[in-house]
Amino acid sequence: MEDNFKLEIISPERIIFSDDTKMVTLPSYEGDMSILKNHISVITLLRPGIIKVQKNDGNSEDFFIQDGTVEYFNDSLVVLSASVINVKDLSKEFVDNLNKDTQDKLTDKNIADHERYVLHHKLDVLKEIQV
């Protein structure tokens, strides 16, 4: 398989995903970005969103994240995040709680513009998720 590269999604508690993949779409800091094999080495931050993983067998798997860091080097992609959840495992309760938390945070007047933007974005992503 020539077009494959290794993806590892790691949380502080365990390795959540580790396998060869064809393509990974990441909600990167400045916009979504898809990574294929032989991508240039990159380090970037993630914003809230969905990581779409296209696996070798053609199936895809989605992960919801709230923040994180990505490193691509030497055909291996590493996603570090304390808040990764497989979309399949998301519960309605969790999404609702997060939605409420985010809205509560938005009511705080003292937050920086950038943070406000991230929070708004998080709300949008949450809306898209259907549980």
Binding site: I10, P12, R14, I15, I43, L45, T69, E71, L80, A82
Partner: protein, 292 residues
Amino acid sequence: MPSLDDLKKRISSIKSTQKITKAMKMVAAAKLKRAQENAERGRPFSEKMNNIILNLSNSISDKNDASKFLVGTEKDNTHLCVVITADRGLCGGFNTNICKKAKNYFDKILKEGKSLKIFTVGSKGYDQLKRVYGKYIIKKINFKGFKKITYKEAENVGEIVIKLFSESQFDVCKIFYNKFKNVISQIPQEQQIIPIENQKKEELKKSDNFYEFEPEENEILNNLLPRNISAQIFKAFLENAASEQGSRMTAMDSATRNAGDLVDKLTITYNRSRQAAITKELIEIISGAESL
């Protein structure tokens, strides 16, 4: 010479203690397995995190502009020591070893005339340090009643440290914990988390590659370094949890064995005094019969 009744009581009390220590050993062994797995599963995260930060800090050309977490405050006056211990005792020298290591460091700092601040995580560390270093302890936290320590707790501790740092309460931060080597040996560690210790030169050369950064290096670092603190603290928690169970297991194992030895010894004494009493009675009967 204790009476037969006393001996009997002591033997049975030691036997029941032995039962308890044996049970604790079993429990520790079961928990150890899980804690060890957790510690091993947690390692990749902090390793990769370190790696990324290493790569980032290498590519920063302008050190003046770099994050304070990386370069420090250029001062070395106030040291914050985060002493991470267990909330429970009966685990051999586990807590004492961490405290001993920390105390050595405290004395060194105080001798150099620098000021010291202590943040204890876990109630046992606080108990051991409060008598001598009570006035230096600025914060204490424990996780009594928590079933499992998750990343959230580490994040909380990390946030406290970061908050103190942003208020310029200290210049250097070190954490003290036990590294889990194997069941019988746990090594007390001292690790500097602010500013991040300079890595060895060899490692620098090895990772000499070009990256594209999005956003700017400094911005990523500013975002990443506080997270790294939580990650390092979480790693310390995991190592500590495994070490605690390992240490308890060995301590309880030797306690069980000591209790066994003691029971054997007391049983011999018991049997001997029983025999002595019988012999005495026989002699009395025989000499009584003879005198007739």
